[in-house]
């Protein structure tokens, strides 16, 4: 009899708390967004499922090892985030997937990638003003970098308790780029500016493409050693892609390694979203601040675009500045769409890919700066 009671008491039903049920409901809602609304599903589906699994009452998945009993599955898989392993490996795959050709062909678009990072630092100030610690504020600001692995890496290093909220915000806003960016882009530009047709891009040679990752890592690595893990792997992946003699490694970085890490990363990022840290006023603040970061990043990118429009006598379409936030390739597609509204024969996609991939480098540098200044 006693034992039956004990069994009943060991079920989740008997131990369900309001907070765990709310977290499960949030997880199911995010799962719905990932599947039905296709919000970055490759990450949001595992993230929300991980969130669901750890928030079951008495869930063993994130238990620490104890008394000779091993810990939970997600406790071990989480090591890859805690030790900073997964995000650089994801960057290896991104590097192998990314064609930096449009950026090499038009290097001044790197400045658009720089401008769009302003949102990160302004949001950092905002987060400080809300009472977050500097480390937390950096993790929140980096949401504006619109780059999942960078945000996860920085947050896991500086404020792991915010990992759930920061990554949910980052991936949600990345999915919402087509809704967040266009009004800002239209508000800050004239129709004439949006209609600018840009000069055709110079063809880039194979040698340039091989040298690019090496040059980037030499400069940024000497300048900012803290950015080496992310940028080093990004550039290695790109070198695998471009050098022509390591196709196997390039494909492995893009596919098998990447897919496995994405599953582990997603699950364990979600697993970090326990009620204790997620059902707080801070999460709501993070969601608000993340939106601000995206908006300011977009605006500062477009404004830098306007400056380049002026300086080049109207040769640069300022819209492509918005792609500088990264959110590859979504933000570049948004430029394309908004550009076509103003000039149906305009084809901005390739031009926007330059700032778009520059934004990846830019936010990795921003993350390195936070690591150097705050750790």
């Amino acid at each position: 009899m006693e034992m039956i009671l004990e069994i009943i008491e060991s079920t989740g039903f008997a131990n369900a708390s309001v907070s765990s049920l709310v977290m499960m409901a949030i997880a199911l809602f995010l799962l719905y967004l990932g599947i039905a609304k296709r919000y970055e599903p490759l990450l949001l589906v595992p993230i929300s499922f991980g969130m669901l699994l750890v928030n079951f009452p008495l869930s063993p998945l994130m238990l620490s090892p104890d008394n000779g009993q091993p810990g939970g599955l997600l406790y071990y898989l989480y090591m890859g985030i805690e030790l900073g392993i997964y995000p650089p490996l994801i960057f290896l795959g991104i590097g192998a997937l990314t064609d930096f050709g449009p950026l090499i062909s038009n290097p001044k678009t790197l400045l658009l990638g720089a401008a769009a990072q302003v949102g990160i630092f302004i949001t950092f100030l905002g987060a400080l003003a809300f009472g977050f610690s500097p480390q937390e504020a950096g993790a929140i600001g980096i949401i504006g970098g619109a780059d999942g692995p960078t945000a996860i890496y920085l947050t896991s290093m500086m404020a792991p308790h915010l990992l759930g909220a920061v990554s949910v915000a980052a991936y949600s806003y990345m999915a919402l780029v087509p809704i967040i960016q266009p009004p800002i882009m239209r508000a800050l530009t004239t129709k004439k500016e949006r209609a600018v047709v840009m000069e055709e891009l110079r063809e880039v040679s194979k040698t340039e493409k091989i040298l690019f990752p090496i040059v980037v890592i030499l400069i940024t690595g000497l300048f900012l050693p803290a950015a080496l893990p992310l940028l080093g792997m990004l550039m290695l992946g790109n070198l695998f892609r471009e050098c022509g003699v390591t196709d196997r490694l390039s494909k492995a970085s893009q596919n098998e390694l990447n897919n496995i890490i994405v599953i582990f990363l997603g699950l364990t990022v979600g697993a970090k979203a326990s009620a204790e840290y997620f059902l707080t006023i801070q999460t709501i603040q993070i969601i608000v601040l993340g939106l601000v970061a995206f908006a300011i990043g977009t605006a500062s990118g477009v404004l830098m675009g306007k400056l380049m429009y002026k300086l080049t006598g109207g040769k640069v379409n300022p819209l492509i500045g918005a792609a500088g936030v990264s959110a590859v390739p979504m933000a570049a597609r948004v430029c394309q769409t908004v550009g076509r509204e103003a000039n149906p024969s305009n084809f901005l996609l390739m031009y926007a890919m330059g700032p778009n991939v520059a934004g990846v480098i830019g936010s990795a540098i921003a993350a390195g700066i936070f690591l150097a200044l705050l750790n």
Binding site: K108, A114, F124, L125, L128, G131, V204, A366, L373
Partner: protein, 135 residues
């Protein structure tokens, strides 16, 4: 602590300003270097212009460029290449070999061989070679 007080107390203004500056400095330097990359390369190419291209180690099979639609000749020319490959091979391997030996219009020839059935698809891009096509 909240608001401006919190920002000041945590050195926020300084960090943000430094951060933005560093991002810009880093990317401006990169812009300058990347934009000079093709000029430097062009210069180096001029300086190191080789007198003659070193030929590949693989010997060139010199055959009168066959009419690619003349399947029998094409098949004859391709036979030694295919023999270098395993019995089931990727089409891409054959292309690579054909290029290595400088065979004329490999794409067209291989297409002929496939259409004519001399190369037989096994799925997943794998092909086998059926020498005589009179089955």
């Amino acid at each position: 602590m909240y608001g401006f007080d919190a920002i000041s107390a945590n050195n926020g203004w300084f960090i943000a300003a430094t951060g933005v500056s560093m991002v810009f400095i880093g990317l401006i330097v990169l812009t300058l270097i990347i934009s000079q990359l093709h000029n430097v390369l062009a210069l180096m190419e001029k300086l190191t212009a080789k007198p003659e291209v070193i030929p590949e180690t693989k010997p060139t099979i010199r055959v009168p460029p066959p009419d690619p639609s003349d399947v029998e000749t094409t098949a004859r020319v391709f036979t030694p290449l295919i023999e270098e490959l395993p019995s089931e091979f990727q089409l891409s391997e054959l292309y690579a070999l054909a290029k290595e030996y400088h065979l004329p219009h490999p794409h067209l020839s291989i297409r002929c061989l496939i259409e004519n059935g001399t190369l037989q698809p096994l799925g997943e891009g794998v092909f086998i070679f059926i020498p005589s096509c009179e089955e």
